[in-house]
């Protein structure tokens, strides 16, 4: 071996991996092997797994089908059927599923007593709505009606029972639940009453009356068993905030679902509620105890029903559900305009003296004029006492009398006085779009503030 080779070997022997380096290198390589197993090895493993599963192949094959079938069945039972059942009305095959499965399950998923009461109330509303739908289609049978009457009664009792139980544990919460329940019953009462009044519809049958009776008696029970605990100011305000927020959200999403006129009316009610809340809070802060806030809450609930339930919207006017709450200025304006209408008719009657009018009628007219004068005196008294609400009530009465007198005189007069139109315009001034929008904005700012 040459010197060169000897030297080279000597150097080469000195070039060695340390034990640690060797271990690390091996670990890296083995790790690479593990992360990148041979495809054949994977295939072998797969084959092993396959062979292992061979003895169960028939069962697993069936299982796959069974699983798919069970899955489809589950989807059918738990999703498709309940979804289809939601649209069912009494008499449909799926109706029992809707009432006994869907609604019971949903009821079972409500945990707070308040939610349970609300759910029973909603079920009551659903039943009434179903009956009305069947009635409008002419498919309502006596049997179904009787069933629904029973169901409505049961839901009303369940809700009332819930309120009674809640009163023991949380009297304040129970009072708030009462407000909601009573508002719902009020709305349904109005709906059923309106059906009875409607011409050409076969409402007013015995069962229909029964239904209205059930609702009325539930309303009476609710009023009679009302607790004497007044919910705390904070609780009422908190509930009002929740409910008005919901009402404003619904109002914002009304586009296309309500006419412009309806929207104006709803906007007006929202601003009324806003004002009621503002006044109620001011009263509370100055130590005056009123139920203004509770009224505002009730109005909000009714307004929400009006916005969410197309049934309600189609059968009851908003004015019936939630009458306009006039501002002091509006009230003064209304009183003035009513009084002006009355004055005008008195003046006209005075100028009629020379003309020939049927005597019997003239007697009636004179009775009317006397009544107007008496009312006018009462109005003056109320004005002196600065009792605005009484003034409004008296002036409204005056307007009615004035209209009656005008009707009596109509056959004898070619010149029709402008009582009707003037009074009408005076009473509706407050509902013009412009005013509504301004007041709505005011309420908006107060809510935000």
């Amino acid at each position: 071996m040459s010197e060169f080779e000897k030297q080279l070997n000597k150097v080469a022997k000195g070039i060695k991996l340390s034990v640690a380096e060797k271990r690390e290198l091996e670990a890296r390589v083995v790790s690479f092997m593990e992360y990148h197993p041979r495809r054949e090895a994977v295939a072998v493993k797969k084959a092993e797994a396959y062979l292992a599963s061979q003895s169960y192949s028939i069962i697993s094959f069936n299982n796959r089908y069974l699983q798919a079938a069970l899955g489809a069945l589950a989807v059918f039972i738990f999703i498709i059927v309940p979804a289809a059942a939601e649209r069912a009305v009494p008499g449909d095959v799926l109706y029992p599923i809707k009432v006994r499965v869907n609604e019971e399950v949903r009821g079972g998923l409500t945990f707070s007593p308040t939610q349970k009461i609300e759910w029973e109330t909603e079920r009551l509303e659903r039943r009434i709505s179903e009956v009305r739908l069947l009635e409008s289609k002419g498919e309502l049978t006596e049997e179904t009606e009787a069933e629904v009457v029973k169901a409505v009664q049961a839901h009303a009792e369940a809700a009332q029972d819930g309120i009674n139980k809640l009163r023991v544990t949380d009297a304040e919460e129970a009072s708030l639940a009462e407000v909601a329940f009573e508002s719902a019953l009020d709305v349904q009462s109005f709906v059923l009453e309106s059906d009875k009044k409607e011409d050409g519809r076969d409402f007013g049958t015995e069962s229909e009356d029964d239904l209205a009776d059930v609702v009325r008696s539930a309303r009476a029970t609710a009023a009679a068993t009302k607790g004497d605990v007044f919910p705390s100011h904070e609780k009422v305000v908190a509930r009002l905030e929740t409910e008005t927020t919901r009402a404003y959200e619904l109002f914002g999403s009304l586009d296309g679902a309500a006419t412009e006129k309806e929207k104006d009316e709803i906007g007006r009610r929202l601003s009324d509620i806003g004002r009621k809340i503002k006044n109620g809070v001011a009263e509370y802060e100055s130590g005056i105890k009123t139920d203004r806030l509770i009224n505002a809450l009730s109005d909000t609930r009714k307004l929400i029903s009006f916005m969410t339930d197309i049934d309600v919207r189609n059968s009851v006017s908003l004015q019936t559900l939630v009458p306009i709450d006039y501002t002091d200025e509006e009230k003064l304006e209304l009183v003035a305009s009513n009084k002006a209408a009355a004055d005008k008719i008195i003046e006209r009657v005075n100028s009629l003296e020379e003309e020939v009018v049927d005597e019997a009628i003239m007697e009636k007219v004179e009775v009317g004029i006397e009544a107007l004068q008496a009312l006018n005196e009462r109005l003056t008294e109320a004005t002196e006492q600065e009792d605005l609400d009484t003034q409004v009530a008296i002036s409204q009465e005056m307007k009615m009398v004035a209209i009656d007198i005008e009707k009596l005189l109509q056959p004898f007069e070619t010149e029709v006085s402008a009582v009707d139109t003037e009074t009408e315009s005076a009473s509706t001034t407050a509902t013009t779009t412009e005013e509504v929008s301004t007041t709505t904005e005011e309420v908006d700012t107060t809510t935000e503030a």
Binding site: F4, F32, R39
Partner: protein, 195 residues
């Protein structure tokens, strides 16, 4: 039963491939590391290329190929990786690789004179080893394969995909270069002393 037997055979094949690879790793990792260190003069880099050599080899096996003889396979992979490394470095030696391309290695006239064994005996061993780093890699490569890895010219020829003659010429020329280099260095020292 038949499937079980097939299964065992499959297992045996799988085990065999993996076992053989690991055996090759244990057998050659040190030699490959030494070779790489000589070629790259960088210990860390040498470990990396050895690691890459084995992962590349495993990837080849994993893809379903079979390696009959690991030694030449591993050296070939390592050699390619080292050349890649040179390319990355773009060192002067890289230029040397390409310079050599113009040299006629089919001219065996230089082999006619002193044979390699005679020539190598005249080398100053220590200085020649030091001078190895100065050689263009094509010469260093074959010299290391021949004298460090103790590969036969036939094996080297297979590895670098050249003819055995070319390998012989490169070894001879490399040694001659080492001789010339060491002598030139010695002459420089003598000259310095004389000055």
């Amino acid at each position: 039963m038949a499937s079980n037997r097939g299964n065992n055979v499959g297992k045996a094949v799988a085990l065999d491939q993996e076992e053989r690879f690991l055996q090759a790793f244990r057998e050659f990792n040190e030699a490959l590391f030494r070779h790489a260190t000589f070629r790259l003069s960088d210990r860390e880099k040498a470990i990396d290329v050895v690691h890459d050599t084995f992962t590349k080899a495993w990837t080849y096996v994993r893809d379903g190929h079979s390696i009959d003889s690991y030694k030449p396979f591993l050296y070939k992979v390592l050699n390619n990786l080292i050349i890649d490394e040179y390319r990355k470095r773009r060192e002067s030696s890289l230029d040397a690789i390409f310079e050599v391309e113009g040299v006629d290695e089919s001219n065996f006239s230089e082999l006619i004179g002193d044979d390699v064994d005679t020539l190598i005996n005249t080398l100053d061993g220590k200085k020649a080893v030091e001078a190895l780093t100065e050689l263009p890699d094509v010469y260093r490569e074959v010299i290391i394969m021949r004298y460090v890895d103790e590969l036969k010219p036939r094996e080297i020829a297979d590895l670098i995909e050249e003819s055995e003659n070319v390998v012989s010429v490169r070894i001879h020329r490399g040694i001659a270069m080492l001789k010339a280099y060491t002598e030139a260095e010695e002459a420089k020292i003598i000259n310095k002393k004389n000055e």
